[in-house]
Amino acid sequence: MALSLAETESVSAGLRRRSRSHSLYPHWFYLPAAIIFGVLYLLPTLAALYFSLTRWSLYDATFIGFDNFAQFFREPFLIQGVINTLIFATTTSAAKTVIGLLLAMLLTSPVLGRGYLRAVVFFPTLVSTVGVGITFEVMMHPTQGVINQALATLGIEGPGWLVDPRLALYSIILVEVWKGVGIATVIFMAGLVSIPREYYEAATVDGANGWQRARRITLRLVWPATGSVIILSLLGGLRTFDLIMTMTGGGPGFASDVISSIVYKQYQAGFYGLSAAGNVVMTVLIAAIGIPLYAAIRSREVDR
């Protein structure tokens, strides 16, 4: 509450000022935001960095240098968790981008029941992730779940969606795509409707066919939206947690563990320093993937 209030204040203050002159804000205008950022983000980050170098019981911390990091990288299932994280982030991001673009193209065209379809696509985004996770956990139950019971009426024996170690991660990916594709679609729709009609008319006059128009105009000019979708879904995927915890808890065994669930389990076991180290590792990994990717996407944007 305090955060949003202060944000609005500083934003509106900034707007007023800008309308009068182009000079920078007085420095004290930065103060509320700086205090909030410092207390809520900067300090905890620095504290986490310090505690990641200690063996910490919440009451006392023993400095142990980089032992936690060494230990974290020795976790036998960590490699599996990193691979799972990358699989999860890339496949959900790719699927959301492709499906989101196709849906956006469909939903910006004059299709019957467009408003209804838009609502249907966006709806899963509005539902709590925990609710979605628990619902699908029930629906994907191997014998009593509605999915396998439906398959059974067709004479198909459905797989153990969440209990088969080879399948569990991919079942969660399916649900994540279903849940997240609505946001991607909305971003793409905004990108698509902002492309001026004249380009298509000119291209049609020049004799371009539908495929050429889609490839040369739509894909090019929707690129800023594509970039946003890729970045948002990839970073969201890298730090995914709630859906995995509610659907499998990282199981069976360690089959669907990702970095964040491994970190959480260290915390749960009372290894606070170790889990702080895990979070530092995750932050670095996300930055190492996110920053170059963002730069690459920005450099490909074309001027209209």
Binding site: R55, S57, L58, Y59, T62, Q71, R74, P76, H141, P142, T143, G160, L162, V163, D164, P165, G249, G250, G251, P252, G253, F254, A255, K265, Y267, Q268, A269, G270, F271, L274
Partner: protein, 430 residues
């Protein structure tokens, strides 16, 4: 009486309301103690019964039960609330190794010098002691770790209770041939996967009496001590032989109890507290259920691994420590265990002096008692002899029991897991 004073507004007649209010003001303002308990229905019913009896004996103190889940998430809630000073006045938690993870000297009230300690059997005290001080008091009875079995299935197939692992596996062959799942596993409730390893500990310590001490001192490992490795290997063998129920990967504790009570499965390795759950849920099947210790290699040394009761603790942030101590004192007295016996089904002997079991215990509990009565036929589980317990055992044993990791690999992984815990506790030698 006090209950009525809380709802005077609901009473239509002013006269009655005034009358009740005057009764209320005649007594001192009641102190309300909050008590965080597990949501297991049988044990919760026991807690409610104890609270009721306590409130009758102490009309100026009320106890409000809060519940939590008894899984990793619920455990996390307890640790977080303790660490942030938000804990209820009293709470329910494991004794033994898991008690050590609570940082007792920072978070709990020292009960060492309380008069009720004289009522508690001495063998219990080490499992709630940290740095020489006692912080917990037993909740209910000790319990066994072994196998719940369906007696009609055994009778129909002419089987007898196995005393060795070889007999157990031979029984399983016959049960499987009869089209019944010989061994029930329920990895949908992940902690239940651990029983093959944890309940095998009697067999470990009877073959290697120094294992617990060596293990704490980082001198013995599961993977390199053949008799300790056995538990993991047995679990692997049972899976490989195809002895498990078909839905072992998704079944839950409740499913497992249903299967063994109805004879859909013959044997369910499980802690004996679950006998009480069967009595609650399938009261007409309780006489079909028996219990035996998890057998080891040697039929001559057949005995039971015993779980000490969980404990009640008082958080040192409580504003009502004196009243909370009264509640604990009541629990550790004969009226306290009588209240527990009224609703629950005792799963073993009480650790409070003077407390006796009701005479009409269920057959499965009657199967347990001879182990306790015979000298040397019980041994505490490892977590009560050593503070070292790795947090990942449920996941590791789920993998071993599902055939995705071998018993040996599982034991190695568990040894690594334990290493972190020992370091976190600051034990010497790690």
């Amino acid at each position: 009486m006090l209950k009525h004073t809380r709802t005077p507004v609901l009473v239509a007649s002013t006269a009655i309301a005034i009358g009740l209010a005057s009764i209320g003001s005649a007594l001192a303002d009641p102190v309300t103690l909050s008590f965080l308990f597990g949501n297991d229905p049988t044990r919760l019913a026991g807690a409610q019964e104890v609270v009721k009896a306590f409130e009758v004996a102490n009309p100026d103190i009320k106890v409000e039960l809060e519940t939590r889940t008894l899984d990793a998430t619920g455990d996390n809630l307890v640790k977080t609330r303790l660490a942030t000073g938000e804990m209820t006045d009293m709470f329910f938690w494991n004794s033994g190794a898991l008690f050590q993870t609570l940082n007792p000297d920072h978070t709990l009230v020292d009960l060492t010098d309380e008069p009720f300690e004289a009522n508690i059997i001495d063998s219990y005290k080490p499992v709630v002691t940290a740095k020489g001080r006692i912080y917990g008091a037993p909740w209910g009875t000790a319990m066994g770790g072994g196998v719940i079995y369906n007696k009609p299935v055994f009778k129909k197939l002419g089987l007898s209770v196995p005393k060795s692992w070889a007999e157990f596996m031979a029984n399983n062959e016959k049960i499987k041939a009869a089209g019944i799942a010989p061994v029930i596993q329920t990895f949908g409730t992940d902690w239940t996967a651990q029983i093959f390893v944890l309940a095998d500990f009697y067999n470990v310590i009877s073959a290697d009496p120094s294992f617990a001490a060596d293990y704490t001192a980082n001198k013995a490992k599961y993977a390199t001590t053949p008799v300790a490795l056995q538990g993991f290997q047995h679990q692997e063998d049972v899976f490989k032989a195809g002895f498990l129920n078909k839905d072992f990967a998704s079944a839950t504790l409740e499913d497992g109890l249903r299967m063994v009570a109805n004879g859909e499965g013959a044997q369910y390795p499980q802690l004996s507290f679950a006998i009480g759950d069967i009595k609650e849920t399938y009261p007409d099947k309780i006489n079909d259920i028996g219990y035996f210790a998890l057998p080891g290699e040697d039929a001559q040394h057949n005995g039971l691994t015993v779980w000490m009761p969980d404990a009640i603790y008082i958080a040192n942030t409580s504003p009502h420590i004196a009243e909370a101590k009264k509640f604990v004192a009541f629990l550790e007295s004969v009226p306290g265990c009588d209240a527990l016996s009224r609703v629950g089904l005792p799963a073993g002997p009480y650790l409070v002096k003077g407390c006796t079991l009701p005479s009409n215990v269920a057959p499965a509990v009657a199967d347990l008692l001879p182990y306790f009565q015979k000298e040397g036929a019980t041994a505490p589980a490892l977590e009560f002899l050593s503070p070292v317990k790795g947090p990942l055992m449920p996941q590791i044993t789920t993998e071993v029991g599902s055939g995705t990791r071998s018993g040996l690999e599982g034991a190695k992984l568990y040894d690594d897991d334990v290493h972190k815990q020992a370091q976190q506790l600051g034990l010497p030698g790690w």
